[in-house]
């Protein structure tokens, strides 16, 4: 075995007192706290071309960002599409997600939406058809509408915030839910404020 190098051994060397947390931020060990995760809604304006969505979802996969929902659709400009992404990450993680998104060449602009932004999700909920009147009444409570009725099932469309849809799903649960599909959040800033 080789002899190695000369010099004081590791334990003989002076030790600095400081430390960093897992985000690489210098911390006071007395008041150490890991940043908490929060929910962020990102809106990305992208070139409307093949492969963009795969690029974005691939980016989120390989960087292990915890993605909550992702929606995509065209804009008034046929060359551009808008992607709404919801992620739950720590503050540095959200910053990193924004920068990594912005770095993709087909991405034109990325913004994080204000908490006051309009956020909507759509759900189709197919429940048991034995009590169509009651289903209709509940749907009305949630400003939803019945979009399909058969002998065995009633399908209801609900639009609204994620919380409202969660509540609706829970309420419809008592009829017996057969199937459900949700779109994920689409969001725009309020008033004249531009989203990107």
């Amino acid at each position: 075995m080789s002899d190695g190098l000369d010099g004081p051994e590791p334990e003989e060397r002076p030790d600095p007192d400081g430390r960093r947390n897992s985000q690489g931020i210098r911390i006071d060990p007395e008041v150490e706290a890991e940043p908490e995760d929060r929910r962020a809604v990102l809106s990305a304006l992208v070139k409307h071309e093949p492969g963009v969505l795969a690029n974005i979802s691939g980016l989120f996969r390989r960087r292990q960002f915890n993605i909550e929902s992702l929606t995509v659709g065209p804009t008034t400009d046929p060359d551009r599409a808008r992607i709404t992404l919801e992620i739950e990450e720590s503050e540095p993680g959200i910053e990193q997600a924004k920068k990594q998104l912005q770095k993709l060449v087909p991405v034109i602009a990325v913004t994080e939406l204000e908490p006051t932004a309009i956020r909507r999700e759509l759900a189709l909920i197919k429940v048991d058809g034995s009590a169509p009147d009651q289903v209709g009444a509940v749907a009305e409570m949630y400003d939803g509408k019945t979009v399909d009725v058969s002998q065995e099932s009633v399908t209801v469309e609900i639009t609204g915030s994620e919380q409202k849809i969660n509540a609706a799903v829970e309420t419809f649960g008592r009829f017996g839910i057969h199937e459900i599909v949700r779109t994920g959040t689409a969001a725009l800033e309020r008033g004249t404020r531009k989203t990107t």
Binding site: L5, P10, R13, Q23, G24, P50, G58, P92, V105, I108
Partner: protein, 584 residues
């Protein structure tokens, strides 16, 4: 193409005179025209079915094509060409296996931010998605390892796409780009000339840092007691080594580099503490861990540099200069982020500084650490040859501008530790991806980029050399004057070192029970070969190999027990580097 690539030098010189550029008649000729427009002079590649139209279009071009033995070699050669010349390196491959063989080299270029443009053949669009012969989803496969990639679908615009790929690869933070070229597109008729190469409009790197941010950072530098400059590969990419040196000397701030940043500061300069990280010098790692202001320029804080995040420069405020905003606070939080070109931001800082930090004590401390933790080795005559001795012998026998390429492993560490680098773009290695087999094809790319008379030495390991040994045929065919020095310990040495340290010495699949005689292998390829076992043979073999006008291979049989120190254990604190195995 050998009938063209082996043309005597006289003919090459004649062809320097202006010739008519490629006339655009097809997608393929448009591709070649676009490359000519961007000033591309050399390409590295391997022929194949789907890329044949592009090759055919090269017949009438002045672009020099080096036919490689394997596509991986083409990508590494293109990468090294970029590192040495600063110009984008271009590689070509056919569809399917050709493209997938490029993948390792593209990933390597991506990790090291090297401007490489890969052009791949693809099956005709009518057959895309049908699992046709030699079809792969090349843009899909390479999306995570390219800065951007393109699927060309129109002969009229394919030249512009290739131009954009070249421009994008070399602009801002460099990186690899790829254009997938379906055969119907390259074969299709078009007379549309590609325009001047332009980066996409969505890519607008910021050159200058915010002035207020620069002022704040400058005040932090003035106030620092223990300032330390950390120069990364970004300083090389930005051609900012000269500015960086001037900055360090003007304000008398000690410098450590990252491994890709080797050569940004002359390693024999009083202020230079050499490179930090897992196998960096003890003094560089001590300085990193005790600085109160780390001025990091063009580095992405790779884990091989930082060790454990918690203990990295634990008392330092961090000024981070980088052209890529996504690198800011990715791994290490930046207290003073300065987004911009390395050279330009250093000039801005220089303009904003009114005085140098008062750091006499700190500089003395850094010098004391250099005394305390010497990079040294014993070379007793009665023991087998030490690899460090070989590296130093090669360094002494070559000029300060000699270019060193390496594979990956123990030999790479010895080369970077014991060679004294003085200039940027003279250290060509696989850093982020750690690709064994990088050294030999990189030497080919480096030689193609080197100025006349500039020596290229590949310091390789036995394991690394075996991975891309076939490229020796290219060096012989192209008559490239390169010297390969194999530090042969008949082991995958770095694995063996880790097995000794962390797997109780169980050398599972680390040793070669039989290994070729590399000197004879070299002769079989048409190169010259030597074998060296003893100290007294080293000088002569080095001299003969360097003197030989063509590819030469010296197989140095070194002490198989020698390990690399210092060593920061993975995830450990930089200043807790081990100096010997019993400290791990």
């Amino acid at each position: 193409m050998s009938e063209r690539t082996t043309q005597p030098p006289e003919t090459e010189a004649d062809s320097d005179t202006e010739t008519t550029p490629t006339t655009v008649s097809s997608g393929a000729t448009s591709v070649v025209r676009a490359l000519e427009n961007t000033g591309i002079e050399v390409m590295f590649g391997v022929q194949g079915g789907a890329i044949m139209p592009v090759y055919d279009a090269l017949w009438n071009s002045d672009i020099d094509h080096v036919m490689m033995a394997h596509e991986q070699g083409a990508a590494h050669a293109a990468d090294a060409y970029n590192v040495v010349s600063g110009e984008p390196g271009v590689c070509l491959a056919t569809s399917g296996p050709g493209a997938t063989n490029l993948v390792t080299g593209i990933a390597d270029a991506n990790m090291d931010s090297d401007a490489v443009v890969a052009l791949t053949g693809q099956v005709p669009q009518s057959m895309v998605g049908s699992d046709a012969f030699q079809e792969t989803d090349t843009t899909g496969i390479t999306a995570p390892i390219t800065k951007n990639n393109y699927f060309a679908n129109d002969a009229d615009t394919v030249g512009d796409t290739v131009g954009e790929a070249v421009a994008l690869a070399g602009t801002g933070r460099p990186g690899p780009t790829l254009v997938d070229l379906p055969k119907d597109v390259t074969n299709a008729e078009t007379d549309r000339d590609p325009g001047m190469a332009q980066t996409p409009e969505t890519y607008m790197p910021q050159d200058e840092a915010d002035h207020a941010d620069v002022e704040t950072a400058a005040r932090a530098i003035e106030a620092a007691d223990k300032p330390l400059l950390l120069f990364g590969g970004g300083v090389v990419k930005a051609n900012a080594a000269e500015t960086a040196r001037e900055f360090a000397t003007a304000y008398d701030i000690p410098v450590v580099t990252t491994m890709p940043g080797i050569g940004t500061m002359p390693e024999d300069h009083d202020l230079c503490l050499s490179w930090a990280g897992m196998h960096g010098t003890g003094y560089a790692n001590m300085a990193i861990n005790h600085t109160d202001l780390l001025i990091a320029v063009g580095t992405r804080f790779d884990d091989r540099l930082t060790g454990g995040i918690e203990s990295f420069a634990p008392e330092a405020e961090v000024i981070h200069v980088d052209i890529d905003p996504a690198e800011i606070s990715k791994n290490i939080h930046a207290d003073y982020p300065l987004i911009g070109d390395a050279g330009r931001v250093l000039e801005q800082l220089d303009g904003a500084l009114t005085t140098a930090p008062d750091a006499d004590e700190w500089r003395e401390q850094c010098l004391a650490w250099q005394e305390e933790y010497p990079m040294d080795y014993a070379a007793p005559d009665d023991e087998p040859l030490k690899p460090q001795f070989v590296v130093e012998a090669l360094d002494e026998a070559t000029s300060d501008e000699a270019i060193v390429t390496s594979g990956v492993g123990q030999h790479q560490m010895w080369a970077s530790q014991y060679w004294t680098f003085r200039e940027p773009r003279t250290w060509v290695s696989s850093h982020g991806l750690g690709t064994m087999g990088y050294g030999l094809p990189a030497a080919i790319g480096a030689k193609m980029a080197a100025d006349d008379g500039e020596e290229v030495v590949c310091i390789d390991g036995d394991g690394s050399f075996l991975m891309t040994v076939q490229e020796l045929s290219v060096a012989v065919r192209e008559d490239l004057d390169i010297t390969v020095a194999i530090l042969n310990n008949e082991y995958i040495g770095m694995v063996r070192q880790w097995q000794d340290a962390f797997f109780e010495g169980r050398h599972m699949a680390a040793g070669y029970s039989w290994i070729p005689e590399f000197d004879k292998l070299a002769e079989a390829f048409g190169a010259r070969g030597w074998r060296v076992d003893d100290y007294d043979e080293v000088a002569d073999a080095v001299e003969e190999a360097l003197d030989y006008d063509g590819p030469s291979v010296v197989d140095f049989h070194i002490d198989p027990a020698e390990n690399v120190y210092p060593m920061v254990p993975s995830g450990g604190a930089n200043d807790k580097f081990a100096l010997s195995e019993d400290q791990l």
